[in-house]
């Protein structure tokens, strides 16, 4: 099981005690991971950034509820998942939309690449989250472990199973086997 390191616990304690700059450092530290989690739910990077930032807002006002200081990142991640799910459910937008990233709409994406994306998209939520955490910006096992509160061995197992599902989907849908 991943153990949150001591400097981070000090940041969490300081944030709970009222030091907003410490909270800011924690946000900086986990922003990429939260965007990845939001992205795994929303499938859109701009919305994922909105979800990450909204989850910081909810975390800030509920920080005093955090009883296990060693679990800050998993707690934040669960908030972020809920925020992203709420965003999908609400069907409403709070921001302008001229700057939305077109991650899945790139004109140079060929059919095979689209098929890979569909394979990722069809993964169960937890597997999809694991894949995106790992491949979005190349988060390390340690970083993923910190966010999900699980060991490297568990991460490795889950990643392998998720990739197997992707490969099976691709094969079933006629993806060139020599490219796998």
């Amino acid at each position: 099981m991943h153990v949150q390191n001591k400097p981070e616990i000090k940041l969490v304690e300081a944030a709970i005690a009222g030091d907003i700059d410490s909270f800011g450092k924690l946000c900086q530290q986990y922003y990429t991971a939260m965007v990845a989690i939001g992205y795994s739910v929303l499938g859109d990077l701009q919305f994922a950034e909105d979800a990450a930032q909204e989850s910081f807002a909810r975390a800030l006002v509920n920080l005093r509820n955090l009883r296990r200081k060693t679990k800050f990142a998993p707690w934040l991640a669960s908030i972020c998942r809920n925020v992203a799910k709420d965003m999908v459910a609400r069907n409403t937008r709070q921001i302008g939309d001229k700057d939305i990233s077109q991650i899945t709409g790139s004109s140079n994406r060929d059919d095979n690449i689209q098929m890979v994306w569909r394979a990722v998209e069809r993964l169960p939520a937890s597997a999809k989250e694991m894949i995106i955490l790992r491949y979005y910006n190349g988060l390390s096992y340690e970083q993923i472990g910190s966010v999900l509160g699980i060991s490297k061995a568990t991460i490795n197992g889950r990643l392998t199973r998720a990739k197997l599902k992707i490969a099976k989907y691709l094969k079933r849908n006629g993806f060139p086997e020599n490219r796998l």
Binding site: L45, N91, I95, K98, Y136, A167
Partner: protein, 425 residues
């Protein structure tokens, strides 16, 4: 096919569809955009007082992040007298009273007053209060927001009595008040729960303990319920979150029933703008009145669908500004709604012009049914974000459109309620 973490081809393929540049996060800018939350946080940590979340009231979100903990002797302080309720007079031994018996007894309750508290360290703060009577509910949130549910429709009003949510009743699909106020955790359709016996039998109370449902086990530790031994009615439900404190829901059957008018929602203000719109996808200007800061709403009505539900187009929501995956997710949600509500359904794109002449971004994912008001929608600046307006001020435009038939072919009446949320005043 062998796949492991060394399968480089697959790694490269996945990286190609996912890998992006590192997102930048500016904490100072974030603080500016979240002044309300920062103020709450600073109040909490300086005054050590319970202040409530800045989130809009959402019973489901509140409850789904909770769990139920061990009942303490605190249960004994609750004294309830039951008016108009038949006391349980069965011959079953108390230890053999299944949870399903409690649920059946609960279904006979005509009125109940519900208190929902959330613990914060050593403090316990009221989160909302609700009154249920004969299938109707009034729910009062902490910020003055109110919800009225008459068994068919649920209307949500913000602290300024502006209608912000209109949706089907919270009692849809035969939900009981117990199921409603426990966020579905205590579904009367769960046979596994219904057969469970009390874990403790006291002189006055029965105690039931439930594990978190599998879907909620990431957040909820367990559920503990105190039930009156004679009445077989739940008095207290306690839900503990894995990472924080507990939620406490108390059911008070003592208070006299509220008069009928108490359950009537406030009069809904007239729309801020109204206009006939053709179903042609062309822009129509609606002049806005009574919404300071907003001059016009500009709408486009298009994409009428009235076909079979199973052929509802998965690309119903389309936008060159939005990711296809997101559009598909929204379309999928709409298909489910369409299946329940039927057609026709329309798409309405909306943007606004402020008094200064600034144009907002466009909200392109609104689906409207006739005579049905959407929930609250929102847009920010044309360039994205709520603080990226030409003058740098914060503006979050909130609006609720509705669509009514007109007596001309392919012509409809769009009504718009709207206002701007700013950081001023």
């Amino acid at each position: 096919m062998k796949v492991d973490n060394n399968s480089k081809n697959l790694d490269e393929l996945i990286s190609r569809v996912i890998s992006r540049e590192k997102p930048e996060f500016d904490f100072d800018k974030w603080k500016q955009m979240h002044r309300e939350e920062v103020q709450i946080y600073q109040s909490q940590t300086t005054d050590k007082q319970i202040l409530h979340s800045a989130q809009p009231f959402d019973i489901w979100r509140i409850i789904m992040r909770s769990r139920i903990a061990k009942l303490a002797a605190a249960a004994a302080i609750i004294i309830a007298t039951f008016i108009g309720i038949n006391h349980f007079s069965g011959s079953i031994e108390p230890a053999n009273v299944a949870w399903g018996d409690v649920v059946r007894q609960t279904a006979r309750v005509d009125c109940v007053h519900v208190y929902y508290f959330k613990s914060r360290g050593n403090d316990l703060g009221r989160h909302f209060e609700a009154w249920y009577a004969n299938g109707k509910v009034v729910l009062c949130g902490n910020k003055g927001d109110m919800t009225y549910d008459n068994g068919q429709t649920s209307l949500g009003f913000d602290e300024n009595a502006r209608l912000i949510v209109k949706k089907p009743s919270m009692f849809a699909e035969g939900k009981t008040f117990l199921e409603l106020f426990t966020g579905g955790l205590l579904s009367d359709k769960n046979e596994q729960l219904n057969t469970q016996m009390p874990t403790e039998v006291g002189d006055d109370f029965l105690i039931y303990e439930f594990d978190a449902p599998p879907d909620d086990s990431d957040f909820i530790e367990g559920i503990f319920i105190t039930v009156g031994k004679n009445s077989l009615l739940p008095i207290q439900v306690k839900v503990y979150d894995k990472d924080s404190d507990y939620d406490l829901i108390m059911f008070d059957y003592e208070a006299p029933q509220k008069p009928a008018e108490f359950f009537e929602p406030p009069t809904i203000d007239a729309p801020n703008g109204r206009c006939e719109v053709l179903l042609d996808g062309k822009e129509t200007v609606i002049d806005i009145e009574g919404a300071p800061g907003l001059k016009q709403a500009i709408v486009r009505l298009h994409s009428k669908y009235d076909g079979p539900a199973d052929q509802f187009p998965m690309d119903y929501i389309r936008s060159e500004h939005l990711a296809p995956d997101f559009c598909r997710a929204v379309s999928e949600g709409l298909r489910k709604t369409y299946k329940k509500k039927g057609g026709p359904v329309f798409r309405l794109d909306v943007y606004f012009v402020t008094d200064e002449g600034y144009r907002s971004g466009s909200n392109e994912i609104i689906a409207l049914w006739l005579d049905d008001e959407t929930g609250q929608c929102g847009v920010g600046s044309e360039n994205g974000g709520v603080d990226n307006w030409p003058d740098g001020k914060y503006r979050n435009i909130k609006f609720s459109p509705s669509l009514k038939p007109a007596d001309k072919e392919d012509t409809y009446i769009v009504e718009m309620r709207c206002w701007i949320k700013t950081n001023e005043g």
